[in-house]
Symmetry: C3
Subunit: 361 residues, 3 copies
Amino acid sequence: MRRWPYQLSAEELRAAFTEALDPQLAQHHVVHTAGYQDAIRRIANQLQCEATEAAVLARRNAADAAGYARQLLASTATGVMLVDAGFAIPGTFTLAEQGQATGITQREIIRLETLAEGLIKEADDPREWFSAVRDALRAGIGRGAVGVKTICAYRATLKLQPVDTDALGVAFSAIRLRAERGELPRLSGSAICHALLFEAAQACRELDVPLQVHCGFGDPDEDLAEASPLGLRMLFIDPAYRGLRVALLHCYPYHREAAYLCSVFPDVYMDLSLTIPFAGLEGDRAMRETLGLCPTSKLLYASDASRYPEVFFVAAAAHREALAGALGELVDHGVLDNAAAAGAGRQVLAENARRIYNLKD
Amino acid sequence: MRRWPYQLSAEELRAAFTEALDPQLAQHHVVHTAGYQDAIRRIANQLQCEATEAAVLARRNAADAAGYARQLLASTATGVMLVDAGFAIPGTFTLAEQGQATGITQREIIRLETLAEGLIKEADDPREWFSAVRDALRAGIGRGAVGVKTICAYRATLKLQPVDTDALGVAFSAIRLRAERGELPRLSGSAICHALLFEAAQACRELDVPLQVHCGFGDPDEDLAEASPLGLRMLFIDPAYRGLRVALLHCYPYHREAAYLCSVFPDVYMDLSLTIPFAGLEGDRAMRETLGLCPTSKLLYASDASRYPEVFFVAAAAHREALAGALGELVDHGVLDNAAAAGAGRQVLAENARRIYNLKD
Amino acid sequence: MRRWPYQLSAEELRAAFTEALDPQLAQHHVVHTAGYQDAIRRIANQLQCEATEAAVLARRNAADAAGYARQLLASTATGVMLVDAGFAIPGTFTLAEQGQATGITQREIIRLETLAEGLIKEADDPREWFSAVRDALRAGIGRGAVGVKTICAYRATLKLQPVDTDALGVAFSAIRLRAERGELPRLSGSAICHALLFEAAQACRELDVPLQVHCGFGDPDEDLAEASPLGLRMLFIDPAYRGLRVALLHCYPYHREAAYLCSVFPDVYMDLSLTIPFAGLEGDRAMRETLGLCPTSKLLYASDASRYPEVFFVAAAAHREALAGALGELVDHGVLDNAAAAGAGRQVLAENARRIYNLKD
């Protein structure tokens, strides 16, 4: 999260509720989305102020930053935060600081590509590089990280292909050359990103931690046409990855496909994360559609929030409502009784994550 | 169906309500799906026992097997069962036995790939093989079969490509060699599966019987990314297949696409089959979405049930409710009056199938 | 629109509510769609006759053609009609005639492929041809056209690929040869259609008019598998097109994908057009799903109507209801207040189009 205290502008708040990178969206269009209107209403209700962006900003900017943030976060009833620390930008809390500032236990998720980019300069060939990546993953897990996340969808198609050793060698050399010149190495292209993903998958399996895979919508650096979780099939059927727990993140609009994968492969899990706070009532629909094929033992709560307490708050509140709506629909139709619905809610909001990430209470 | 009497275990019942092949799903997750919970509730209600898996199993395992099965099947009001006999495994009724055991008329659907695999050893080249397949299809239809089913989606992509004669020859030789060695020949790959599908399509057209095509979700042997019915376009636009009736089976989550195909091509039909008993309230949604573009004269009832009377029962009950819900929604909005809705229900549940499969009353 | 007066047959009316080209659909199946039943009910209600096809046709065929058409069109409250004039077939009003006959302001949308086909004979190579196309677009806009529409989806995949100059040259020569022989030149294939689309995109950007792109479902000349708007990504990320306004037309069943594009790219807009009158209550669902990610400042009303006043009437009435339903759902959940919902309705029904097409009141 952004290190408080700070004053938040309207554009910053809007930008937190869109995947757009172009500022025109925050300037002109985000206020015309159901997600943002819903967010303003929820925050205003919590702050007991008028349900307008201006009133919300005035109230939050006048408040004591730490107290304000802790109040919003407390209402999310978060027991543990799993944090992708590779997303950190300047002015962000370290994990330790964040734990202290929020009073919430923090556990690290290692961002695969960020880690691997930092190791490319020291390696002479892909084999050495992969070995260093595996060592670093092992060390990270040893230090307390509980999972690994790949953002392959931002760098390559998610339609995984077997490794092409020649293409991998070429890609590796090109990126390493850039790193040697002191430029920031940036992994991209299927040859190198898929090979890295496969290595990480084997490492995660050995280390007994889940591999999170960004699927579905995200910022426009990603080609959504290439981001269906169905493309990950090799991870699910190749015996080399047997037992690997895979968490499909976000998924929308491929959540029906993700739910199918959860229904047939034993170690596949999914979340809807930013779909819920960003997509208005469509988040509720996505939840109901997901609970068609996806067992409630396979669905995970996630906020995808990163910088502002407001997003954590809105995501948690909207997620609970969407889940209550979907489970309530099942109760209304006599499919579940109240106890079963409550049990399913506990699975999604806590128990599944505790089990899959081996979290201690 | 499995030859009764037999005792049914919890894992067997669960396995009947999932497409998963890995037993971990039946062990740990199926009980957490809306579909299975709904199934237990429906069966329990029918058996007038407590709505728990244990109570249902106790009741059914204590009952007279034949009477129990007949009672569940009678409640489905099935006039004729169209049975894919190529799916038979040991311990299964023959079609004749099944007719006698259930008291319901049975008509065979020929499973294309099973039939064709049995003929490969006798053929010297693809041309001879295709000729034998066509002869066997003709003979099967002559003996009373009413349609042909392809499970191409389990063996190749459904994105049909024109036949590549060279690749076909290579694939044929490889499979035939295995057959000669006494191994079980198994068709797979686009070259041979698509060529076979095209041959069968022409044969079905000549024999005036529908070709059923498995689309959409199924067990994990299939790559769902390759199983959209949109890939079958060549069957719909190539004049060689003009007049061929194609029944798209299952379809979910591509049911909107299937409905579109039904809306623009005169001889394309669809069903939702296992979507309804497996996907909880999502089956109801799929039905409503399907009735967006799909004419009610194009939608077919199907259970996709195979082994247990319970699945036939649940599928029929859930299907009627889903259909009633979707048609009721149209009545509520004034789009259909009650008589039109009832007529549409009769089309889907019986009339369309009678017409398309040339079934006599 | 078809030049009135004329008598309308049942088959003609049905054909106006389907994308099917094969007359069997209008003969046997269209009456069994929710969309057509809804259309008959709406028209009958407006004409105050019995809600049957026969009564509607008798009433409309007995009425004064001009008065009848004007009455239906007046009820749509259309301020300006944006007309794809490249779709004209014999017996159709010219744009000037249509303005006079309907009393509604008409503005032309230039159909790119039709325009370009007419210019191929005079050009010696693609470069000359593109130059002539750009000149003609500039002239058309100068004469008052307000946008350009591409039907690339009917001629090639929408998965845009960089121009392959050699393939373009070959395709150009082949089509030009046909034109020289006096045959009707018909653009098809990705090499030439994509290159033309890219030229038009640059021209539209320079001329400051939107480029409309047919996406999603349409008549069966199109392969729906190739018609997702996600394929247009190059138009959104290549700086060469920065500032180009792109209107995604129809979109269903890719409307969730289209909504995503609208949510992250500043100059992408969408409509649902024929989805609404053709797909029954599924049109309402598509509207709700669209308003998940799509800002209300990005969604456009469109009828996709072309020949008959009945379709304009039904599309407008159904569209208003679908929009009211979707916005009402947001009001019911407290996401929008009434004033915000009314404002969003005005955006979709008029303001967005006025702004994007630079229409004067």
